[in-house]
Amino acid sequence: MENMKDIVLKYVIAEYCEDDSEEITYDTPLISGGIVDSFSMVSLKRFLEVKYKIQIPDDEATPEAFDNVNSIVSLVEKFINK
C-alpha cells in the first residue's frame, strides 16, 4: 500500500505544480518556498480531511504545519491517532 508521504507528495505535485520541471521532495518548503500560496492551501486541507476522514481545526492548519510533506504527514497522523 502506498504510504501517506507519497500520497501527499503526489497530490501536492498534481494540485500545485505548473510544470514537471519542479522537483518536490518530502522536505521542500511549499508555502515559504512560494510553491503553494497560503490562500490555495485550502484544497490540500480538504483533500487530507476527505482522504483520511479527519477534521483539521483552522488554528492547526497553519502555513507552518503545511510547509512541507513531512510536517503535513505529522499533522495528519496526530489527528488519525486521536
Binding site: G34, F39, V42, R46
Partner: protein, 415 residues
C-alpha cells in the same frame, strides 16, 4: 499616552525586517499631471527629472485629458465638491444614477452599483451574495482585492491552477453538492497581462450551473473591438453574471469602481455590501469625469485602436531585441528578469536613461519571477516608445540579457 517605547520598538524592528528583506516600498514623488511625460523626484530630495512613464494604468491616456478635466470642473461647479454622506442617506445625486445606467449599457449587463473603489467592490460583493452553503472557485492569480473579498465571505473557497480549464472543471465537479457555485477570475491578469479564457469558462459555468465573476479592471475601456472588456473580446457579452471594474485605470484614472451584472445581485449589494453601506459616495467631480470618459469611448474607438497599435509595436520591439516576455496581447507587457535584484538594478538604470518602469518581485509576483511590468498607453506617441525601446536595449546589453533564455538569465543572476 499608551504608545510606549516598547510599542515603538516592535514596529521599528518589523520595519527594519522589511528593509533587510529588500521588500521596503518607497513612493516616488511626481510633480506633474499623469501622462506619458512626467516629472519625478527620486530619490526623495533629488532634482525633479523628466521621464517617460511606462508603468501607469493610464491605458487610454485620459487621466489628464482636457475634455475629462473640463467635465470634472463642470461637475464641481454644478454638483459641488463632496456629499458628506453614504449613498443611501443623502449621498445619491442624479449623476450617480446616470453613471450607473451608462455603465450598465457600456458593459452590456442588467444593472450597476457604484463603489468607492473596485477594491471595495471586490471586498463587498461576495459577502453580500453568498452564504456558508455556497462555494467560490477562483483562479490562483486573481487580484489581491478579490482574495480579501473571498476571505470576508462566509462561503467555502477553493482555487484552480491559473487558466487551467481542466482543473477548473474538476473543481466544479467536486462541489456539485453546494447550493451555488461562483467561478472567479480577472479578465486581464494584472501581473502577467494575459487574458482569461472567458468563452470556455462561460461554457463550463453553464454546464455546471455556476455563476461567472470577472474583474475587468485591466480591460474596461480597451479590450474588445469597442473596448467593453474581456467579455466582448471573447464573444460572451451578456453571459457574465458579475463584473467588477474600476474607474481608476483606463476610465479616467481618478478613483471609484462598480459591481455590474444580474439585477438581483446588484440589488443584494445595495442592501448588504458593507463598503457601499458604510463608505462615502463617490465625489461628484469624479462621477462627472467618468461620464465624459464614457461619452468619449462610445463615440469613437480611436484611443483603444491607437493603444492596440502601440502595444503591438512595443511587444514586437522587445521580442526582436531579445528580451524574455510573458505572452499575451494586452497592454501589460512584463519583461522577465527572474532575479529580484536584477529587476531593481534594471529599473534604476532605466530611470537614469529617462524611463520610469518599476521592478516587481516576491511577494507581489511568485518567487523567481521578478520582472519589469511595462504598461502601454494611448497617451504614448511613437517617439516615446522608440526612446523607451532604445533605453531598454541599452540597459539589456549592459546586463548581457538580450537573446538569453530564462535559464541562461537565471544561471547568470540566480532567481
Amino acid at each position: 499616552m499608551a504608545y510606549s517605547n516598547r510599542a515603538r520598538q516592535v514596529y521599528t524592528d518589523t520595519l527594519n525586517g522589511i528593509k533587510e528583506a529588500g521588500l521596503f516600498k518607497q513612493e516616488r514623488f511626481i510633480h506633474s499631471v499623469q501622462s506619458a511625460d512626467i516629472e519625478v523626484e527620486f530619490p526623495t530630495g533629488n532634482p525633479v527629472k523628466k521621464v517617460i512613464n511606462m508603468c501607469a494604468n493610464n491605458y487610454l491616456g485620459l487621466s489628464s485629458h482636457p475634455d475629462v478635466v473640463k467635465a470634472a470642473h463642470e461637475g464641481l461647479e454644478t454638483r459641488g465638491y463632496g456629499m458628506s454622506s453614504v449613498r443611501f442617506i443623502c449621498g445619491t445625486q442624479d449623476i450617480h444614477k446616470e453613471l450607473e445606467a451608462r455603465l450598465t449599457e457600456f458593459l452590456g449587463t442588467e444593472d450597476t452599483i457604484l463603489f468607492p473603489s473596485c477594491m471595495d467592490a471586490n471586498a463587498g460583493v461576495f459577502e453580500a451574495i453568498l452564504t456558508k452553503d455556497d462555494v467560490m472557485i477562483s483562479d490562483r492569480l486573481v487580484h489581491a482585492s478579490i482574495i480579501d473579498g473571498i476571505r470576508l465571505a462566509p462561503a467555502m473557497h477553493d482555487t484552480y491552477k491559473h487558466s487551467d480549464m481542466e482543473h477548473l472543471e474538476s473543481k466544479l465537479q467536486q462541489y456539485m453538492d453546494k447550493r451555488m457555485r461562483v467561478v472567479i477570475t480577472d479578465g486581464v491578469f494584472s501581473m502577467d497581462g494575459d487574458l482569461a479564457k472567458l468563452d470556455m469558462m462561460a461554457d463550463l459555468c453553464e454546464k455546471y450551473d455556476a455563476m461567472l465573476f470577472v474583474d475587468e479592471s485591466h480591460s474596461s475601456g480597451f479590450i474588445g473591438k469597442t473596448g467593453r472588456g474581456t467579455h466582448e473580446h471573447c464573444g460572451i457579452m451578456g453571459r457574465v453574471d458579475i463584473i467588477t471594474t474600476t474607474f481608476g485605470k483606463a476610465l479616467g484614472g481618478a478613483s471609484g469602481g462598480c459591481v455590474s451584472g444580474r439585477r438581483e445581485i446588484v440589488e443584494m449589494c445595495r442592501q448588504k455590501a458593507r463598503p457601499y453601506l458604510f463608505s462615502n459616495t463617490i465625489a461628484p467631480v469624479v462621477v462627472s469625469g467618468v461620464l465624459k470618459v464614457l461619452d468619449t469611448l462610445s463615440k469613437s474607438t480611436e484611443r483603444r485602436d491607437k493603444l492596440e497599435v502601440n502595444t503591438e509595436f512595443w511587444r514586437k520591439g522587445l521580442l526582436d531585441a531579445g528580451f524574455v516576455l510573458k505572452e499575451g496581447d494586452s497592454p501589460i507587457v512584463p519583461v522577465m528578469l527572474f532575479n529580484a535584484k536584477l529587476a531593481q538594478d534594471v529599473s534604476k538604470d532605466l530611470f537614469e536613461e529617462g524611463i520610469y518602469a518599476v521592478g516587481f518581485f516576491f511577494p507581489v509576483v511568485p518567487n523567481g519571477q521578478a520582472r519589469i511590468r511595462t504598461q502601454i498607453s494611448a497617451g504614448h506617441d511613437m517617439h516615446h516608445l522608440e526612446k523607451a525601446l532604445a533605453a531598454f536595449i541599452k540597459v539589456g546589453k549592459k546586463y548581457n540579457i538580450l537573446g538569453k533564455t530564462k535559464n541562461e538569465i537565471i544561471e547568470m543572476y540566480g532567481n
